[in-house]
């Protein structure tokens, strides 16, 4: 038995606390509770930053702007062709380069800047296409890759495929080097690299690679599990209860909402301490190793959740 909670389990626990389990006379509909649950998961992710993801964007000749991955919340690190790409700003480029830097010269990207909250731009503008692959979708498994035209088989990757096993664990290129950028399974179903199938394949060699804090998927099914560590999942229950009692209507109760907010804070403080636990590497100073209240700093950064102002403790 694991400590992970599905959406149905979270909702069931919430209803138990609400003492409102009759679906026909519910003070809070399932739709409303599900919305609070998803909101709570995102709020916890903002505070605790549990879920990170990888992404790759194929680089295209003479194209400056590239969309960030859909679930990108904050970038941690960008690479071009597996090398760290430092961030700059348009102001710095205006100041330090010639006036036509936006399109000329082209070359190997050496910096990026955020031209939009969900878009990165490269300087210099790339002067070559990066590799882009497509796979056979019919069987649900990759049998071969095609070149960018989508038709011609890419013979570079023909040999390493082991057809008998039905799945691909590893790819190597012509130099015998491993290409290892398989997307992690969002539901964490595979705890061994031996299992899994290729769903989408992108190579960050000569392309843009993203490492970023991600936005958890919106749970649309009762079997879905929040993409945060199990240490933080119980806090979703307490967040949802806070929202239920804070909402205007027959069952509004600020005292209970406040009590559940305190329960949420108490749980998250413990979860953040567990997350921050580190083994010592060297003596850095005479300061205590264990950090103080991590939660307060994070809350100041993220801000109070919706309706907390109403309760008066935000």
């Amino acid at each position: 038995m694991s400590f992970s909670l599905s959406r149905a389990q979270i909702r069931s626990e919430v209803r138990g606390y609400l003492m409102n389990v009759d679906g026909l006379q519910a003070g809070w509909s399932d739709t409303e509770l599900n919305a609070y649950i998803n909101e709570g998961v995102f709020y916890i992710q903002q505070i605790a930053e549990y879920y990170w993801d990888f992404g790759v964007a194929p680089v295209i000749l003479n194209q400056r702007d590239y969309a960030a991955p859909d679930n990108q919340y904050q970038f941690i690190r960008l690479t071009y062709s597996q090398e760290f790409l430092p961030q700059t700003t348009e102001y710095e480029l205006d100041r330090d380069t010639n006036s036509s830097w936006r399109g000329n010269p082209t070359g190997t990207p050496a910096r990026f800047y955020m031209s939009q909250h969900n878009q990165v731009s490269l300087y210099p503008v790339p002067n070559a296409n990066g590799p882009s692959y497509s796979a056979s979708q019919e069987t649900g498994e990759a049998l071969y890759f095609t070149l960018a035209d989508g038709v011609t088989r890419d013979s570079t990757f023909f040999t390493p495929f082991s057809q008998e096993l039905g799945c691909i664990c590893q790819l190597t290129n012509n130099a015998g080097q491993s290409i290892i950028k398989f997307k992690a399974d969002a539901l964490n179903r595979f705890n061994s690299p031996d299992y899994g199938i290729v769903v989408g394949y992108q190579n960050d060699l000569n392309n843009l690679g993203f490492m970023y804090l991600a936005m958890p998927d919106t749970m649309t099914d009762d079997a879905h599990i929040p993409q945060i560590q199990e240490t933080g999942q119980p806090a979703v229950v307490y967040y949802t209860l806070m929202r239920c009692f804070a909402r205007d209507g027959e069952f509004q109760d600020f005292e209970l909402a406040s009590a559940w907010w305190q329960a949420f804070m108490d749980w998250m403080e413990s979860a953040l301490q567990a997350q921050a636990w580190e083994f010592p590497q060297r003596v850095k100073s005479a300061e205590p190793f264990q950090q103080g209240n991590i939660l307060q700093g994070r809350l100041q950064a993220v801000g109070p959740p919706s309706q907390l102002i109403v309760i008066g403790s935000g």
Partner: protein, 237 residues
């Protein structure tokens, strides 16, 4: 005589006693109480971090990203076999690797070798750098999640001092359904007593004192000579 070891039933009994609830279930049904007891078990394990576990992880030549074991809560360190250089690797960060060679190290490129960095990534993955050059097994030393209690005779690996905290927190969670003000009393008691159990954990983990005093005021009994002697191995110059 033997040292007491709480079973699931014992946790039920003590929690119900605290709540003044009949053993057959009264204000709180038994299913809900079981849920609160297991939630309390999780909370105690998160707070006191007393149990440790080692688990083997299969590594594949050239593969850098791996999943943690399903019951992992907090990673402490990795240790590798002789084939991979008997390395003991502590968690580090992406920024730490980026700082190599004045920030010009192309560490992400594919140079399989003996591992020198262990980088937790997301809540369920970690990166090994360099990626292993051979297929092998490495071991993760970590703080696991406790095993959830299901049957009435099930017990937990937590020591008795930590077990005693479980009914207190379970009573807090249960009382939140009925009377949040009364519940706060249980929470206060839990927080007070939990600190004393943490002392036991700090006592056991002499490698990690809460305060490290500099210079000669340093108490040798808190020292980890290996860390002091070999700290360059973890990437510091």
């Amino acid at each position: 005589m033997a040292i007491q070891n709480y079973t699931f039933t014992d946790f039920y009994t003590e929690t119900q006693l605290r709540l003044n609830d009949p053993f057959t279930g009264g204000l709180w049904n038994l299913t809900d109480l079981g849920l609160y007891i297991n939630r309390a078990l999780l909370r105690v394990a998160m707070d006191v971090r007393l149990t440790r576990k080692d688990a083997p992880i299969s590594v594949v030549a050239g593969l850098a990203v791996y999943s943690y074991p399903s019951d992992y809560m907090i990673p402490e360190f990795l240790y590798c076999s002789a084939l991979l250089g008997n390395q003991r690797l502590y968690p580090t960060t992406l920024g730490q690797i980026d700082k190599r060679m004045q920030g010009r190290s192309p560490w992400e490129e594919d140079f399989p070798s003996q591992q020198s960095y262990f980088i937790p990534y997301s809540y369920n993955l970690f990166i090994l750098y360099p990626a292993p050059q051979v297929n092998d097994t490495i071991n993760l030393h970590y703080i696991p999640f406790p095993t959830a209690l299901v049957n009435s005779g099930d017990t937990t690996l937590l020591p008795l001092s930590a077990q005693k905290l479980v009914p207190v927190f379970a009573a807090y969670l249960a009382q939140m359904k009925n009377d949040p003000k009364k519940a706060l009393g249980h929470l206060k008691e839990y927080k007070k007593r939990m600190e004393f159990v943490r002392v036991q954990q700090r006592h056991n983990a002499q490698l990690r004192p809460a305060i490290m005093a500099p210079g000669r005021a340093f108490d040798r009994k808190h020292a980890n000579p290996e860390v002091i002697r070999d700290w360059t191995r973890w990437g510091y110059r």
